[in-house]
């Protein structure tokens, strides 16, 4: 079980719990605004862009090459940017805080 906090663009904080699947799916299930997941989670649309709160950045591994390349589609991307369909919900993510970009 991992507790994940999403902070939307209008500063709404949504705390959700998940055990499996991708963070994008968890966000969609819980109606987190700004995470659309248009490609269904195959790293093809960049509509699941989040920025990890620097304080919890160490909970995530490295983004793959394709994820890094896809992030360049978004001019708002920075070093904390991730496509959350590429993040699997595991215990390791417990406590992570993600800022929704759109």
């Amino acid at each position: 079980m991992a507790k994940i906090t999403f902070i939307t663009k209008d500063q709404e904080s949504i705390v959700v719990e998940g055990t499996a699947g991708s963070v994008m799916e968890l966000a969609v299930q819980n109606n987190v605004k700004g995470i659309d997941g248009d490609c269904g989670g195959v790293c093809s649309c960049a509509t699941c862009h989040v920025q990890v709160d620097p304080a919890s950045a160490d909970k995530l591994g490295e983004a793959s090459e394709i994820e890094q390349d896809m992030l360049e589609l978004d001019d708002d991307a920075n070093e904390y940017s991730r496509l959350c369909c590429q993040l699997q919900v595991t215990e390791a993510l417990d406590g992570v805080v993600l800022n929704v970009v759109k």
Partner: protein, 416 residues
Amino acid sequence: MDNNKCCVIIGGSHGGVNVAFSLRKEGWEGKIVVVDKDPNLPYQRPPLSKTYLTVKDESGYIPLKGEQAYTNEGIELLLGQEVTKVDKSTQSVELNDGTVISYDFLVLATGASPIIPPIKGIDKAKHLFVMRNIQDVKGIQAALESGVQKVAIVGGGYIGLETAASLRKLGLEVIVFEREQQLLPKVKANVLSEFLLELHQNNGVQIELQSSVSEIKNECQIQTIITSEGKAFECDMIIMGVGVYVNQTISNQLELDYNNGITVNAYCQTSAENIYAVGDCNTHYNAIYDQSIRLESVQNAVDQAKIVAKSITGTSEEYNSLPWFWSDQYDVKLQIAGLTIDADNHIIRKEDEKKWSIWFFKGDQIRSVYAINNAKAYVVGMKLIQQNAKLDKEKLVDLNEKLSPKTLLIQNEINV
């Protein structure tokens, strides 16, 4: 905003669901009713041919939105119900159970339906399927459980090929029939067709090109596909992937203009003022390519949905998105930026055997990029096409040059 008004959306898939949520985002306070004959909570359609076939339980289906989201946003979902009649004069739709709902705005998000060609013997075909919704996938899975081993796929387009890849993953024997002389016959570069041909053959798929299926025979428990070239192939199951058509029942009842799809203007508005059409079911003008087109893609459905919501709520914006698309087959990820409809030449940039890209031009102007395991090429392509850029082709094929908009632009074009 007038909250006594009602917007009825026919079709609750990528197009319809996104219209509903976008309406709320744009401040629409009236009623929103989404009707879909599919009984499942609206779900992502592209994985049907990719991952859904290989997952056993329903948790593998990805919903477009969580169930609660509809309640939270006050969106009424009528699932498993079909709109059977529409009346423009009374501004109302009738469902199969007789319910009548009045609308102020009507959105047609009815998509497209798979073509089932009138092949001799098709009415007696066994385990015959199309690939459009979850029921199709469940039907195929049930047939596989019953012992089907050899699957014939008719059509070598994206859906046929993705389905072939998924079924190979499950260990089935697969044969694909394509009428034209190459796979993906609509793609303007046969290097891609050849690459996919080899990919599928290496993964054990039998591919029959220039083979149109002329008859399906069922004799003595054996099903045989006969091609017009006179060859015969046994199979237990047949999946049709020969394209889709737009159902005209509703648009005819509404007397809407139609041209291969429901004709809409730049605001996705049909020839009737308070009726809109989004996604696979409409034919619209694309300004980037200066042509009227009908697209079958998630991007098109989602982006048009936002345009419709804006138009209904009075902040009109013209639809002017660059089309994009993707396909996943085995470990190959194909990403497509733009359209090739007005391209007259192309060049290939090859990082290695597995990672490469095709760049389509009209003269020197970049029009489309097909990126194979190369997200970078896709992203750079998207940006350059949006800029209407002319590219330095020598630099593009030179692997010492980085793939970036800056290096690829013809120097004197920068800042123009």
